[in-house]
Structures are given as C-alpha cells and as structure tokens.
Amino acid sequence: MAGFPKHWPDTCPPPDAEPANGVVYRICRENPPAVGDFQSHAELGKASKGDACLRYGLSVFRNPSEARHLTELFPKLGKLIFRGELTAEHGKLKATPARTRPSHMTWWPFEKVERAAAFTISSEG
C-alpha cells in the first residue's frame, strides 16, 4: 500500500491535507525534468526557517499564470512550467497560500510515486 516515508514527522502531511486531485503546475529547470526538479527541500538537504512539514512537500500551483510570474521573478528557479494531473494515488495536497497567493499548494508525494511521470511541459500561463 502506498505510504509516506517513515522518517517524516508524525503529523506530516498535516491531517487537513486531502488526497491529491486535479491539475497543478510545477516550475522546473530541465525538460524532461531532472531528478532535482521534483525533490523537496528536505531531500535536497536545505534548511528552512518555516514549517518543518512543508520541507517534505513540493510547491505546485493551480494557476499557471502564477507559476509563469515566478519564473520572471526568479530566473534561476527555472523557466519551464510543467502541467500534471494528480490523483489520490499521487499523495496528498493542501492549499498553502502565502498572503494573497491563493493558488499555491503543497504536494506530499507517496514514497514510491514516480513524480515527474504525471507531468508534461505546458505553454499555459
């Protein structure tokens, strides 16, 4: 049965995260995406002063124009937008908006999921 890595904190993903579903967009550097394009902060060994559980998730967006906007603000973040259709088999999802950014979500993928497989390059946004 699909599950999350055992070393994640006890309440991660948080209880109010829901089974993943619907279209989301992710910013990547390479096409096809490199392994690093779909790795979390925790997997990349990066610290964060914020919520520890968010470190294990991946930032995705419901709105492609929000993703496109960020590629203009942070050119080194990546220039490519990938579109993915997630289902409950891909893990859990929660809206994690920062201030007035309603479209930002965090995706916690199940351990065995091949993350990039659900995504294709998008020209939207």
């Binding site: 060994g45 990066k46 124009s65 603000l73 942070f74």
Partner: protein, 382 residues
C-alpha cells in the same frame, strides 16, 4: 553558481542570526522575505543556489517600501534597487559564509527579477503605454508627451470598448458603466522612458486573472492585441490592417508614435492583452501604415459634418449625447472629449441649441465631435 560578484568584501557576521519578519514569496521555501539584521531591516531575495550554498540579494528596506511592493506601486526590482545592496552567500542552514557590498547594476541580469514584475501576478498593470525617444528621462519629459501617453492609452481603450460593445450606437443603462473600462486608475508613472501604467480596481484585478473569459476588460484587451498584431504583420503588407474595423484602427492610431517630435516608438503591454504580459513595440513605420489605411477607410466610411441641433439626451459616463431637432432632420449619437464636458452639460441643462462639427460615420450617422459651440441668440435670429 556561474556568476562572479562585483563588489567590496563585507563582513558576513552582520547577517548572522537574521530574524525573518515576513515571508512574501514561498516556493519550495522562502524566496522573498523581510528580515531584521544587525545593520538594518532588509528585503532578502534568494537569487541562486546550488548543492552547497545559496545567494541572496539583501537590500535595506522600510515599511513604506514593503507597502508599495504589496499594493503594486513598486516592482520587485525597484524595491531591491537601493543605493547599497549586499550579496549574501549562506550554506543551506542559512549560516552566512560570505558577503559583498555592491549595487544592483553590478549584478548579472540573469539572476535578477525582470523589470516591471510586481510582487504578485494580480498587481501587474492591466494596461500600460511607454513612450520611447531620445532624452525622455526623469525631469525632462515634456508635458505634451505626458498628455500624448495618458490620452493615447485612455482613448485607445475607449475606441476598443466602442468596437467590442458597439458604442456609441446605443445609449442608456446597459452602457452606463463602460467608462470604468477605459477611465482606469493610474497605477504608476515610470521614467524609463516615459510610461503610464493602469490597474483595475483591486477586486476586478483579481477577477481578471481568475475568470478571464468573463472579464469585459479582457475582451477589450483581446481586440487591441489583435489590432496591434495586424499592424505588426511580418509580410509588411496592409491587408491585415485593412480588415480591421474603423474603431480598432482609431484605437491603433492612438498607440503609434507621431511622425515627428521626441517620441519615436511606443511600447504597449499589460495583462489585458493576454499572451503572458507580452509587450508590443510600435514604431514610425507602423504609424505611416496605420495612418494610410485609416485615411482610406475614413474616405469610404466617414464624412465631415457640420450641424445644428438640440442636446436631447446626455450620457455623462460615456461622453456621448443625442442631437435632435437637427438641421438635417435626423437624430445623431455624438461622442465628445472630456474637454468640452461643461459646455455640453450646459447646453443639455439649458436646452440651448448648439452647432457641432465632426466626423460622421456614414453607416450609423454617429458623429465624433471635434468642435462644439452653443448657437447664440444673434445667430438664431439671423
């Protein structure tokens, strides 16, 4: 990281233990945030990282700058562009390793936010027009250029709205709110060369991004973008321009530079044009082509008219009135400029007869008024 930092070595200890105050953008971790450091409160922007370290641009900031950033009057680039900035290199536990004192101008473009990008997408200008020409910079922009840019943008939107909603052929309640579509609040002026940017009221600006198909503004933007694309056709022939309706040609006329004077080029952009906030450049060659086609179309579809009549109805929102009891015995819907608003209002309220002159569309009889005068008692008696 493949870029060298031009600047003076600075003490990284100044930033050790910085305290995050507010995260403005978080994508796989905080990327733009304010923080308290030993030297000042600062805006931190993560501009590059690799497996070993991360580089931040750190700019002194204030509550006023952050407020401007959050309400869209200052772009992210401008908020960072302070007289002194630092590049701070940290490890991935955010422990400072190196620091350099520098300026934004010394940093490579490839790591910086694009010019004009606002903090959040809904803050991007809805419509903007930039006049480009030798010597247009802060303090040297002639009033005529400011007027040209502001009126050009506003009139182009009004003409495009007339095309989309087929005004001023009708008047009344349905069209009463159209003015809001072209009389937009100015978001900011910029002196690079001279730019005016318009936003929508905040709620509408949000809707524009969330519900694009339904937004009336989007329809106007799409019409304008199509007209601009027609003027920019690669074949350099006029066929695409000739296919445009007269309102769109007149909108274009307001977005192309004059054939003489300081302004040699206009840059048009904004979220209502769609296409990912793409900008379009219109030069004097385009001006010549637009003017030529417009002249041909006007000869076929319009005539110069001089009439007398009574201002029987007035739509003050859309700057139109209906002229009745006319010297040609027909009713005409007339559009007028804001400059003659008081005269039109006076004639309407006092039921004075007026003489108008302007361009009449042969098909509809609508008149674009250029001269408006009350007819004096002497004239009436004569």
């Amino acid at each position: 990281m493949d870029w060298n930092i031009k600047g003076l070595n600075s003490d990284p200890e100044d930033f050790r233990g910085f305290k995050t105050l507010s995260v403005l953008i978080d994508v796989d971790g905080p990327r733009l945030f304010t923080a308290e450091t030993r030297v000042c409160n600062a805006l931190f922007m993560l501009v590059d990282e690799n497996n070993e370290s991360a580089r931040f641009v750190v700019a002194p900031t204030s509550d006023a700058i952050i407020a401007q950033l959050e309400n869209g009057t200052v772009s992210v680039r401008n908020a960072l562009d302070q007289p002194v900035v630092w590049v701070l290199e940290t490890d991935h536990t955010l422990e400072p390793q190196n620091a350099w004192r520098t300026t934004l101008g010394e940093l490579p473009e490839s790591v910086l936010p694009a010019q004009g990008r606002m903090l959040w997408p809904h803050l991007q200008p809805a419509f903007r027009l930039r006049a480009i020409g030798e010597g247009l910079s802060h303090g040297t922009v002639p009033a005529s250029v400011i007027r040209q840019v502001v009126e050009g943008a506003s009139t182009a939107l009004r003409k495009a709205a007339a095309h989309v909603f087929k005004e001023p052929g009708k008047q009344g309640r349905a069209s009463n709110s159209r003015k809001r579509l072209y009389d937009l609040p100015v978001q900011h002026f910029a002196y690079n060369s001279f730019e005016v940017a318009f936003s929508l009221p905040p709620e509408q600006q949000e809707t524009l991004l969330q519900d694009e198909d339904d937004a009336e503004m989007q329809q106007i933007g799409t019409a304008l973008a199509e007209a601009i694309s027609s003027s920019n056709s690669a074949e350099n022939d006029d066929a695409n321009l000739q296919a445009l309706e007269i309102e769109l040609l007149e909108a274009l006329e307001k977005l192309v530079p004059p054939l003489s004077g300081t302004v040699t080029e206009f840059e048009v952009g904004g979220t209502i044009l769609g296409q990912g906030d793409k900008t379009f450049r219109l030069d004097r060659d385009t001006s010549k082509r637009v003017k030529k086609v417009l002249q041909t179309v006007r000869t076929k579809e319009e005539k110069i008219t001089t009439l007398e009549g009574l201002v029987a109805e007035m739509d003050r929102d859309n700057l139109t009135f209906t002229l009745r009891q006319t010297s040609d015995h027909k009713d005409h819907v007339c559009s007028f400029s804001a400059e003659v608003f008081d005269e039109v209002m006076d004639a309407f309220v006092n039921e004075n007869r007026v003489a108008i002159s302007g361009r009449e569309t042969l098909k509809s009889g609508n008149i674009d008024v250029s001269i408006f005068n009350e007819v004096g008692e002497d004239a009436l008696q004569g």
